[in-house]
């Protein structure tokens, strides 16, 4: 990829024009088209023209007309793209995968943000079991690489080169799983480690390479961990075209991250039930914030129930709530979990620990009894959630 190609104007136009899909929806008078998008397009003369062109295109005869033979580099790109597609047939979502985002879909459906072209994200890890991944934006335009862009080489893995040219480590992003349309590439574990090493440097090392600043061809270098990577040179200042390039992609990242933001804002269904527990805790213990190797969602929330049981929330998947009970002392009290009034799970007098599993399909309550079977306490766990 040559420096400065494609032009900034072209890149900007590609990202900030209405998408073909939006034009088509407006021209077809799709009632589900978000009104603010329709308004924005119809009030922009240039975009309005696009709608006109769309009408005309649809009525034209779209017969095949052979043109000149495509240039060599295009054929090469097509070959690599085809190879990548073949290799990725059985690929799954995992760190190192590059995913394409065509539409922005949140937990409640498609957002009213138009994405005019496919955005690509290199995944680093999953942040939340409900489907929020984190990673870095990927640009196709390796000619705009800075010293904090990891330039993707053919030997790094399988990927569609028309979509992925460099990982923008200065541009981290969260992706909501429903927005992911397909997997368009993956890099090896070793290369992912190299990417992470470079990203770590970006976060921890001051940018003091001004002497080499300025656009120009990418070149190899080594990270502090010794990984060999190819990057560009540091950005020289606001006059550097890559300054504007980064502004464009920061705006794209902002849009791509919206669904994840929406998902994170949602309270999971089990929060209401947990609140039911919390209301009954005789004391609430601070959760262990982060255990080694755990991602934030795995942190425990704990409390003491009836002075007899330590209760902890230990969810692993979003659809099931796992509540762990640990007996405090030698008493032989029992706990019964009732679902829709019927006994579902029991922590018997001999159990030291017990995990109750709940889902969002019923009304749950707890009964705590002493060793003789006398009811000590009764908790309606679903009441708070339904209010």
């Amino acid at each position: 990829m040559k420096p400065g190609k494609p032009s900034l104007a072209q890149i900007e136009a590609d990202w900030f024009r209405p998408s073909d899909r939006l034009i088509s929806r407006i021209s077809n008078d799709d009632p589900d088209t978000p009104p603010e998008l329709r308004f924005a397009v119809e009030n922009n003369p240039e975009f309005k023209m696009c709608i006109q062109e769309s009408y005309e295109t649809e009525t034209e005869d779209s017969g095949y007309s052979p043109g000149r033979a495509p240039p060599e580099y295009l054929l090469n790109l097509a070959d690599r793209r085809h190879t990548a597609q073949e290799s990725l047939k059985n690929a799954t979502l995992k760190p190192g995968a590059m995913v394409a985002i065509d539409r922005l879909i949140g937990p409640s459906g498609e957002l009213s943000i138009d994405l005019p072209k496919t955005a690509v994200v290199l995944l680093d890890g999953i942040e939340h079991p409900s489907g929020i991944w984190y990673g870095w934006m990927v640009g196709a335009e390796a000619g705009y690489a800075t010293n904090w862009d990891y330039v993707l080489l053919e030997e790094d893995g399988h990927f569609d080169p028309s979509l992925a040219g460099m990982a923008q480590l200065w541009n981290p992003v969260r992706v909501y799983v429903k927005s992911i349309a397909r997997i368009v590439g993956e890099i090896s574990n070793d290369r992912l480690q190299a990417v992470r090493a470079l990203a770590a440097e970006f976060l921890t090392r001051p940018d003091n390479c001004e002497a080499y600043a300025g656009p120009g061809a990418a070149g190899p270098r080594r990270t502090l961990h010794g990984y060999k990577v190819v990057t560009g040179k540091p950005v020289r200042g606001q006059s550097d075209p890559r300054w504007r390039y980064q502004e464009i992609y920061l705006a794209v990242k902002s849009a791509v991250g919206e669904p994840a933001k929406a998902a994170m804002a949602l309270k999971p269904w089990w929060e209401a039930i947990w609140a039911g527990f919390q209301n009954s805790f005789t004391s609430e213990e601070p959760a262990m914030a982060y255990a080694m190797g755990e991602t934030p969602h795995e942190s425990l929330r704990e409390g003491i129930l009836a002075d007899r049981f330590r209760v902890g929330l230990d969810n692993r998947i979003d659809k099931v709530m796992r509540v762990r009970f640990t007996r405090i002392g030698d008493h032989r009290s029992t706990i019964r979990l009732l679902r829709n009034g019927e006994v579902s799970q029991t922590m018997a007098a001999d159990d030291r620990n017990k995990i109750f599993l709940l889902d969002d399909s019923g009304r749950f309550s707890l009964e705590i009894s002493d060793a003789e079977g006398n009811l000590l306490d009764q908790l309606d766990l679903t009441e708070t959630g339904e209010d």
Binding site: I317, V320, E342, S344, Q345, L358, D359, S361
Partner: protein
């Protein structure tokens, strides 16, 4: 409940009961190989009789068992094709009634015994996928049962499977609608989606599927998958269930399970209830059927290891005869399942994982004999087929009182085929010890026929050894030489663990063969060599041998050979030492082929030949014991000879008061068919008429045996049977059928001394 097994064997189907076994002629259960209208059968539209729906041979086996017993267990091994596994055996009718409740079928039954049929953890997990919105809710209230947790919904069910140690669950129940599809997941959720158990986390040992299946048995196929993925037992229905009935079935099932009732008994009882046609009747058990919560209640439920340990405990201390019986029956079954024969049965029994009784270990063998003897009549036919010859052989070695009983039992069992090759060695040994050479030879011939050309096996070496014993007793030394050469060749090729012992036995036989051939010096050398080797054996390989038997033979041979030789004196001193404490020896006298009686025989001969007064005085205290011995069923040979030698010593003197009369010894030896020995002893006593009579009887008996020995020619290359035998007769008659006096030296030179 008797078990009838069916398993695949060499492209055919083997049927097996404890009393008989055989191969079916067809690989299809139906006589015409036709699939039936099994859905109609289950729905009551058809009424197929057992007699018309199964192979005739199978009908006979099942009907005869059903006439004898109230219920029968049919175990279909996992290697049987699906047509057998899905066959509706329990829906057929017998004597006008359905077999449900009487015939309990275990499908995909594993051939190996369970590691343990009992379950320690009581916890039951129910995955209830029955939709909340169904009008019929028959599965309520299960969570009120002790140790039962009910997990509602597929998400919770999946998370439960992923997050728990499933081996600590005694029973996993899945309640759901069935997809009733042959392909794809077997369960259907309330939203119409299909579902299946996540199997990557393993499974509890027992899984109960309460869902509708199709009439082709899709849930039986699914159950097989669950077995392959870790379940030990799966209960799954064939065809559709009625939800209300299934709810009652499940409730009763859980209560019975929690009360420790065995799973086959729970199902059998429910299948005997007419109201259970759309629930209990339709459930099939796959895998092990003997599991229960808590401790196993019978020997058949024990693991191999526990069963063997308990049986060993019974051998040592008593207390659990059922374990010994069950171990033998289980070995019988395992042998048939493993190879279709009983060839390995004795090895399994003696193996450290079995009773841990090494070959020839007198103490242990005697204990087995004592403990198994009272149980032998309770053994089923197939087990008795190998246990009786083994017990007979143990009697031959350790307790002659019971020898006649096992001789009779073995002859009764002999009407059946499939006696293992190794047992023929024992079947020959038992009548041999009783002097019934014809029967002994007949069984030897059968043994060689069973070997079918295989050589250098322990079996063929033992058979050859036994044949050599017979030929020595029958004074057929020339043939004995041929057998001895065969035996030596095979021994040199043989590399089994018992090779050393077999080599030692061969030395003993060769020594006696030398005596028959009139070569006492060679015999002395061989006995001496054997004694040295036995004494040099590490304790672990001695099996209680100390060289005493060899010492007895050395003195016996030396006495005949040269009673004034220094080696004779040397051996005599040692024997006197060994016999110097009569009360202790008599108290601890073994009941079988005991070493001390051979010492007595040898010293009595020495006493007479060397005119050794000290020896006579040392033997007198044993006289009363000899009388007692001769009054029992013990082998009369050694003591009978000893009494006779003492009478020869005291010929012109006053007899010790307790010494049995010579006529008593003579009668006992006569009843024991010691004809050649009686002829020799009579000749030494100068009783010419008796000598001639006994020689005639011996030669006549030998003729009867020749019929069988001749047939051994293809294996052994015997030639000129008649000529060789006639030559032996001439030699015997030349010495014994004369009026001229016979001396020990003459008997020794002609090889006609009592052996």
């Amino acid at each position: 409940m008797t078990a009838c097994w069916l398993w695949a064997e060499k492209g055919l189907i083997r049927w097996w009961t404890p009393n008989a076994t055989g191969l079916l002629n067809s690989d299809h259960p139906h006589p015409n190989g036709m699939p039936g209208d099994w859905a109609g059968l289950r729905n009551g539209l058809m009424r197929n009789a057992l007699r018309h729906a199964l192979q005739p041979e199978l009908v006979e086996i099942l009907e005869s068992a059903l006439i004898r017993e109230t219920s029968l267990r049919l175990k279909l091994a996992g290697d049987l094709p699906a047509v057998w596994q899905h066959y509706p055996f329990e829906w057929l009718r017998f004597q006008g009634s359905p077999l449900q409740g009487r015939l309990f079928v275990e499908r995909y039954a594993p051939l190996q015994s369970p590691d343990g049929c009992s379950f320690d953890g009581r916890r039951i997990a129910i995955l209830n996928l029955w939709p909340d919105q169904e009008k019929v809710q028959p599965f309520g209230g299960l969570g009120l049962l002790p140790d039962v947790d009910v997990y509602f919904g597929a998400d919770v069910a999946g998370d439960f499977m992923a997050g728990n140690d499933l081996t600590r669950i005694s029973l996993l129940v899945i309640i759901s609608h069935g997809s009733e599809s042959d392909n794809g997941p077997p369960f259907r959720l309330g939203n119409g989606a299909t579902w299946e158990l996540p199997l990557q986390y393993g499974l509890p040992r027992l899984v109960l599927v309460v869902a509708c299946g199709n009439e082709q048995g899709n849930l039986i196929g699914y159950g097989k998958t669950l077995l392959m993925r870790g379940a030990q037992t799966v209960i799954a229905p064939i065809g559709r269930l009625d939800a209300e009935s299934a709810g009652r079935f499940l409730h009763d099932f859980l209560i019975n399970w929690l009360n420790g009732i065995r799973i086959d008994q729970i199902l059998l009882e429910q299948q005997g209830q007419a109201e259970n046609t759309h629930a209990g009747w339709r459930f099939c058990l796959l895998g092990h059927g003997l599991c229960r919560l808590g401790e196993p209640c019978s020997a058949e439920e024990w693991s191999d290891a526990r069963l063997a340990e308990t049986a060993r405990g019974h051998i040592a201390l008593g207390g659990c005869p059922e374990a010994l019986l069950a171990l033998i029956e289980r070995i019988t079954l395992h042998c048939h399942q493993e190879s279709g024969t009983l060839e390995s049965a004795e090895n399994y029994l003696r193996d450290p994982a079995g009773l841990a009784i090494p070959y020839g270990h007198a103490d242990q063998e005697l204990k087995l004999l004592i403990k198994l003897d009272p149980l032998i009549d309770r053994l089923p036919v197939l087990s008795a087929r190998w246990a009786c010859p083994l017990m007979g052989a143990l009697c031959e070695a350790h307790n002659h009182h019971r020898l006649a009983r096992y001789d009779r039992l073995c002859r009764e069992r002999d009407q059946f085929t499939e006696t293992p090759a190794w047992a023929y060695h024992y079947l020959s040994k038992i009548p041999y010890r009783l002097g019934q050479y014809t029967e002994s030879a007949r069984n030897l011939l059968a043994g060689f026929q069973r070997l079918d050309g295989s050589c250098s096996s322990a079996e063929s070496i033992r058979l050859l050894g036994q044949l050599l014993n017979l030929l020595v007793d029958l004074n057929l030394g020339p043939f004995g030489m041929i057998v001895s050469r065969h035996l030596r060749t095979q021994l040199n090729r043989y590399t089994g663990a018992d090779s050393e012992k077999l080599h030692l036995n061969a030395l003993d036989r060769d020594a006696r063969l030398s005596l028959r051939r009139g070569d006492p010096n060679n015999a002395l050398e061989l006995f001496s060599t054997k004694r040295r080797k036995v004494q040099n054996l590490p304790d672990a390989y001695r099996d209680g041998q100390t060289g005493t038997r060899e010492l007895a033979w050395l003195l016996y041979t030396a006495s005949w050979n040269n009673p004034r030789s220094s080696e004779g004196l040397h051996y005599a001193e040692q024997v006197k030492q060994a016999l110097e404490n009569p009360s202790r020896l008599i108290t601890n006298m073994p009941k079988g082929n005991a070493d001390p009686v051979y010492l007595m025989r040898a010293l009595a001969l020495w006493c007479w030949c060397a005119n050794d007064r000290d020896a006579a005085e040392q033997l007198v205290p044993y006289a009363r014991f000899w009388r007692t011995w001769l009054d029992t069923d013990q082998d009369p040979g050694p003591i009978g000879f000893a009494v006779w030698f003492m009478h020869l010593y005291y010929r012109d003197q006053c007899l010790p008061p307790d010494l049995p009369r010579c006529e008593k010894a003579e009668v006992k030896l006569y009843l024991g068919n010691y004809f050649l020995e009686l002829a020799a002893l009579s000749a030494l006593s100068g009783h010419h008429e008796k000598t001639r009579e006994y020689l005639y009887r011996f030669q006549a008996a030998r003729y009867d045996v020749l019929e069988y020995l001749e047939k051994l020619s293809p294996w052994l290359g015997f030639e000129n049977w008649l000529a060789v035998t006639q030559q032996q007769m001439r030699s015997e008659s030349g010495l014994l059928d004369q009026r001229s006096p016979v001396t020990p030296g003459l008997l020794l030179a002609k090889g006609l001394l009592p052996l």
